[in-house]
């Protein structure tokens, strides 16, 4: 079993060894990390966390747009670590997750990956 070490920066910097093949929501909750969640299939962003260091595979996610991805967000219910990671979890990490769309619209390349233009160049 491949494992990586995940640090939860905003819960006292606690570290956890997690299975690389399973979603972080499951492996962290099993070790007592209190995390929010909703749909459990990558569709609703309730469990979004910010990855401030390291890399995850969240290819199953369908909820985050490219701006949220660029800002480091991952939906933990489908994200699997592919390196050691440092995370900020819960709504404390959501400062850049939500925006008023009438005040702060997205550029065409910032939409969800399935409808975004492929590059930021116009």
């Amino acid at each position: 079993m491949d494992t990586w070490t995940v640090t939860v920066a905003n819960q006292g910097g606690a570290t956890f060894d997690v299975d690389a093949s399973r979603p972080l929501l499951e492996t962290l909750r099993e070790q007592g990390v209190d995390l929010p969640y909703g749909c459990r299939y990558g569709g609703c962003i309730t469990c979004a966390a910010k990855v401030t260091s390291g890399k995850v595979d969240q290819s199953e996610q369908v909820a985050l747009n490219n701006r949220q991805l660029k800002n480091g967000y991952a939906v933990l219910c489908v994200a699997r670590p592919v390196s050691d990671c440092i995370l900020e979890v819960g709504v404390e990490s959501h400062d850049e997750l939500y925006r008023n769309p009438f005040l702060d619209p997205l550029e065409p390349h910032e939409l969800k990956p399935d409808i975004a233009t492929t590059t930021g160049e116009h």
Partner: protein, 458 residues
């Protein structure tokens, strides 16, 4: 109209023989309102709040009981009864169970409200994963009873992709399967209402769960990720037969209500993003259903905002006497009352402000209002309108981030049923910012005896 003989014969089941009888029912003394912690940062389950609505009670205008769901993250949203006036003549039925779907978890909680109406209890859970396995559905929304059985609209398939469909549940709350025989070419689902005497159901369109659950990206409207149609169904054949394309007038058509008179072929829908009321109807000698825009709330231009702000008319209901239509503008912050005596020509007869982004009423009865008027329920006699402020946790977080610390509120509006008019009742306020586990958000409300969005007459 229901004739006297029929009224006398039908005496024993739930609900009322006619809308006229419903108006004369005893006034509501308890309210059931869903309250949520999903998306708030508080790691507690969503719950069903019982609110004391009896002005003679010492706990008037307070939450007197909280039924917590078994786990976190459901996002309780809309609710519906196991039985309504559609089985009024079935003495074996009673309005005992309130169904609470979790729009994110896909679970449906069946709550017993009859054993102790002040302290409802959990009776059964229809497991969200079982619904995905047996019916390939997720994202539950509207519940209506069908005589003794129940149908629930779901906005997505098991993977959260549109159009979803309708779950059929029997009176023991077992999954029968899909109710719809076909979704035709319907791209999206949301709300529905049926009018059995005309063998018709009308359904509306929000979006796929994967589109709306994470929040609102305005640009996705242009990518046709949000709906703009109403669908006419052959109710007995359980399949769509006509599409009404509303275009720019009907962006995001949400709640659908027929008039309560079971003979009527008139109904209304609110197009949330266009902030329009859509009137739909059928003339006697024409099989086609028609529609028209009857109310158009203009977007507001705000300094420094690159895009004008729409009202976001997300909900709508019709008074039991079919005289008044109530709509909200969640982002502007106003509730409106229209006289719809002529459904083609609604007349604005009342308007009040509570919350909203225009800053017209930031405080109501001493409570800071984070959010705007969103869900509302009207008393059967039409005189008391209970209004809550949360739309969906992710959308709340986008438009009203301060709701995280302030929570939602419930306001009561006194409605003048004789001359028209609305006024905020100064003796009533339920501040969900003061809940024992921290600020929660309140959504749909129902009364034990039925209300203005629960009952349909056969």
């Amino acid at each position: 109209m229901v004739d006297v003989a029929e009224t006398e014969m039908t005496c024993c089941g739930p609900g009322y023989a006619s809308p006229r009888d419903a108006i004369a029912a005893p006034i509501e003394k308890l309210l059931y309102t869903v309250a949520l912690y999903t998306g708030t940062g508080i790691q507690k389950p969503d719950y069903l709040a019982t609110i004391d609505a009896d002005p003679d009670s010492p706990t008037y205008s307070q939450v007197i009981h909280r039924l917590e769901m078994p786990g976190i993250g459901d996002e309780l949203h809309h609710t519906g009864w196991n039985a309504c006036s559609s089985c009024h003549d079935d003495a074996s039925m009673s309005r005992k169970y309130l169904l609470l779907p979790g729009v994110r978890s896909n679970n449906i909680y069946v709550v017993d409200t009859a054993t102790d109406p002040r302290a409802p209890s959990l009776h059964k859970i229809i497991d969200g994963d079982e619904i995905k396995e047996k019916a390939n559905l997720s994202g539950p929304h509207t519940i209506h009873c069908l005589g003794s059985e129940i149908i629930i609209s779901f906005l997505g398939d098991a993977k959260g992709e549109a159009p979803g469909g309708y779950l059929h549940v029997n009176e023991d709350f077992e999954i029968v399967g899909r109710w719809d025989n076909s979704m035709g070419d319907i791209p999206y689902g949301y709300d529905f209402w049926y009018q059995p005497r005309h063998n018709v159901m009308i359904s509306s369109e929000w979006a796929a769960p994967n589109t709306f659950l994470p929040g609102f990206d305005l640009e996705e409207v242009g990518h046709l990720k949000y709906g703009r149609r109403l669908h006419v169904w052959d109710f007995e054949r359980r399949e769509p037969v006509q599409t009404m394309y509303l275009g720019e007038d009907g962006l995001m058509p949400l709640e659908v209500k027929f008039l309560h008179n079971p003979d009527s072929t008139h109904g209304f829908c609110c197009a949330a993003l266009s902030s329009n009321v859509i009137h739909f109807w059928k003339d006697e000698d024409d099989p086609e259903w028609k529609w028209e825009k009857t109310v158009d709330v203009a977007n507001e231009l705000l300094p420094d905002w690159p895009i004008p702000l729409p009202g976001v008319m997300s909900a709508l209901l019709v008074s039991m006497d079919d005289r008044y239509l109530y709509v909200n503008n969640w982002l502007h912050g106003d509730m409106r009352q229209y006289d719809i005596t002529d459904p083609h020509n609604p007349v604005l007869t009342g308007q009040v402000w509570m919350g909203g982004l225009l800053g017209k009423a930031p405080v109501v009865n001493g409570a800071e209002v984070a959010g705007g008027p969103q869900m509302f329920q009207l008393s059967l006699d039409g005189k008391r309108l209970y209004v809550t402020t949360s739309l969906l946790s992710t959308w709340d977080n986008q438009f009203y981030p301060e709701i995280r610390t302030k929570g939602g509120v419930m306001v009561m509006i006194d409605c003048d049923v004789e001359n028209g008019g609305m006024a905020i009742n100064e003796d009533f306020i339920v501040d969900f910012g003061q809940e024992p586990n921290g600020p929660s958000r309140c959504h749909e409300t129902r009364y034990p005896g039925g209300d203005c969005t629960s009952d349909i007459w056969l």
